[in-house]
């Protein structure tokens, strides 16, 4: 990250007036970049716009650029949708639980593995890394969940996701590169125990990596779909992603508004799809601009040893 900040384009450093060819290059390049940004943003923007626009306008299939014919019944209807509300609650609860469990497993574990004086460090590390390349697959995992007696409980989602070996490696690289060896040696001479060093020095110096880990685990759990489908049974325990899939992709939507006419109902159903996609993606999209630099720094930490 630090490297990126100091990066300046060479022409700016040398203050050379660009040639005609370079100007053409720049113009084409800027056009490509603008087009790319539009391609990336427009589908998302369209879904959000469609969620607040009269479905009759949306269904004519014309491109939407700004809000027109506002129609908010979809949101009112979505708020009364019991599955959606319970899906939301479940997802928040599972994400919260997973964040605590995952940090409690990953941060101390990664710290211990970052210590060069830990006897058996390499073989233990190999045991972890090996699971990135070879694993039991879904059926043995399913049987494990069953035999541990956590099938159809929040733990069936939270515990298997308690450690991601990739995250563990990223976190270990961080500790290796950012905790000065001198600090440890000085503390050890003063009789500091490993516990005390970890809690008093390592953790306060690692706020960045804790934030990165929190974000990685939280987005992974927020987006969990298949594990929920496999390891949970009751409808009222399903997280948002499963609800989303049932409602939008399996067409299980129906407008409950009593007394509404058939045409009105169909309108609602059409809009509800956009509304539900929007409400399930929006929390990430709101948090995203504030935390994206942590994601990027995580990638770079991972690349060191990835």
């Amino acid at each position: 990250m630090a490297k990126e900040k100091t990066n300046k384009t060479p022409a700016a450093i040398l203050n050379v007036t660009p040639t005609k060819g370079d100007k053409v290059f720049d113009v084409i390049n800027i056009i490509i970049m603008v087009l790319l940004c539009i391609i990336i943003v427009y589908p998302l923007y369209y879904v959000v716009l469609a969620s607040i626009t009269d479905p009759r306008v949306v269904n004519t299939g014309k491109m939407l650029f700004w809000p027109e014919a506002p129609y908010f019944k979809g949101y009112q209807e979505a708020l009364t949708y019991p599955q959606l509300i319970s899906g939301y609650k479940n997802t928040i609860w599972y994400t919260f639980l997973n964040a605590i469990v995952a940090l409690a497993c990953t941060i101390p574990g990664a710290y211990a593995l970052s210590r060069r004086d830990l006897p058996g460090r390499r073989p233990i590390m190999f045991l972890f890394t090996f699971t990135m390349f070879f694993n039991g697959g879904i059926i043995p995992m399913f049987l494990t969940i069953k035999s541990l007696g956590i099938y159809n409980t929040p733990w069936a989602l939270v515990l298997p996701a308690a450690v991601s070996v990739y995250n563990l490696i990223v976190c270990r690289s961080f500790f290796e590169s950012s905790l000065p060896q001198d600090l440890l040696e000085a503390a050890q001479i003063d009789g500091c125990t490993d516990f005390r060093f970890f809690f008093q020095f390592a953790i306060p110096l690692s706020k960045t990596i804790i934030a990165v880990m929190l974000l990685y685990y939280a987005t992974a759990m927020w987006n969990t779909f298949f594990n929920a489908l496999m390891f949970l049974q009751d409808d009222d325990r399903m997280p948002l992603q499963v609800v989303l899939r049932n409602l939008v992709l399996s067409n299980q939507l129906s407008a409950s508004a009593s007394g509404a006419e058939a045409a009105e109902k169909q309108k609602l159903v059409d809009q509800l799809k956009y509304v539900i996609i929007t409400v399930s993606a929006v929390p990430l999209m709101i948090v995203y601009p504030f935390v994206q630099k942590y994601f990027a720094s995580g990638v770079m930490l991972g690349a060191v040893k990835g």
Binding site: E4, K8, A11, A12, I13, L14, T19, D26, I40, V41, P43, V47, G61, L64, C105, G109, Y111, A112, L113, R115, P119, I124, L127, T129, T131, F133, F134, N135, G136, G137, I138, I139, P140, M141, L143, T144, K146, L159, V163, E185, D194, W222, N223, F225, F226, M230, R245, V248, L249, Y274, I276, I277, S280, A281, L284, M285, Y288, F295, V299, M300
Partner: protein, 316 residues
């Protein structure tokens, strides 16, 4: 510290000091316990469960008491004797190979072009926008595809307004791969470019200065400086991507399965899910999954060996 162990000349003392070191590090092992418990329960215990691929597993009897399959490789031979075996294997390989061919170079080009944007602010802004879709879940992604490409969706309307026929993008076999790969480029181009952008930003400005003095234009600077210098990173990422060729995610493929596209969208992992968990053929599905894992593991190890040789970087 390791130094203490080396300090003693007596070999017996070495053994003793290893035990001492282990005892002295007990607090570190305590810190490691939660992660180790996870490793045993959710990584190695399921691996032990793989032996049901060689058994006739009955859920009542449990893993140990279930009888061995007769012959031992029954479930594997059963799989290979069906036509679905070749279909799913070919679909898996084609989907990954096409994905690699069509999407691998996109982040590289994007990073090279982005690096030529002069304003720092604009560059940061474009980069931030570019990896926004990465954090959408597969479900949200497939939902967006399904609404945009439905028969009444905006894509078909645009086609219709240009006088073209309306297509069933989401259920016809011929559109499955383009949609799958296109959406994954859309979703991960920016994120995959991060590593190249970082590699570009570490190129020494002196090289550009020298090139400018020699009168090299922008295109030449990209072609003769940027590209060769990020090539090692590109090659490494390519080898790693080849190594992952059989691990293509089942979640998105399964979610995108609709109507007539199963002839191309049924890959090994979605087939494992269906036979295993939807029709409860545990042993058979485990055997199919194990076959996939083993092939994948072999490819990964080979790719990793090549990466080690060429770039001196290894994931092990």
């Amino acid at each position: 510290m390791a130094k203490n162990a080396k300090a003693s000349a007596d070999p017996n003392a070495n053994d003793r000091s290893l035990i001492q070191r282990i005892l002295r590090s007990w607090q570190l092992y305590v810190l490691l316990v939660p992660a180790l418990v996870w490793l045993i329960l959710f990584a190695y215990y399921p691996m032990y469960g793989l032996i049901i691929a060689f058994k006739d597993f009955k859920i009542r009897a449990g893993i140990l008491a279930s009888p061995w399959a007769d012959p031992l490789f029954k479930h594997f031979t059963n799989f290979f004797s069906t036509s679905i075996a070749s279909t799913t294997i070919i679909n898996t390989i084609l989907l990954s190979v096409y994905q690699l061919l069509f999407s691998f170079w996109v982040p590289v080009v994007f990073a090279l072009l982005l690096n030529q944007i002069r304003s720092n602010g604009a560059r940061k802004a474009i980069q931030t926008i570019s990896y926004a879709p990465y954090f959408l879940s597969n479900v949200v992604l497939v939902c967006i595809i399904s609404v945009l490409f439905s028969s009444t969706g905006v894509v078909n309307s645009i086609l219709a307004s240009m006088g073209m026929k309306i297509q069933n993008f989401t259920s016809e076999a011929q559109y499955f791969r383009p949609l799958y790969i296109g959406s994954s480029i859309w979703q991960s181009m920016g994120f995959n470019a991060i590593i190249y952008i970082a590699a570009l930003s570490s190129i020494s400005p002196e090289l550009y200065e020298a090139a400018l003095i020699d009168g090299a234009n922008k295109f030449q600077r990209v072609w003769y400086i940027d590209l060769p210098l990020i090539m090692p990173t590109v090659i490494l990422m390519f080898i790693l991507a080849v190594g992952n060729i059989m691990t293509i995610g089942y979640e998105k493929a399964w979610l995108m399965q609709a109507g007539g596209n199963t002839s191309v969208s049924e890959i090994i992992s979605t087939y494992v899910y269906k036979t295993g968990l939807q029709s409860a053929q545990y042993s058979f599905a485990t055997a199919v999954g194990l076959f996939n894992s083993v092939v994948n593991f072999i490819i990964l190890v080979i790719a990793n060996l090549i990466a080690k040789k060429t770039a001196d970087i290894s994931i092990f």
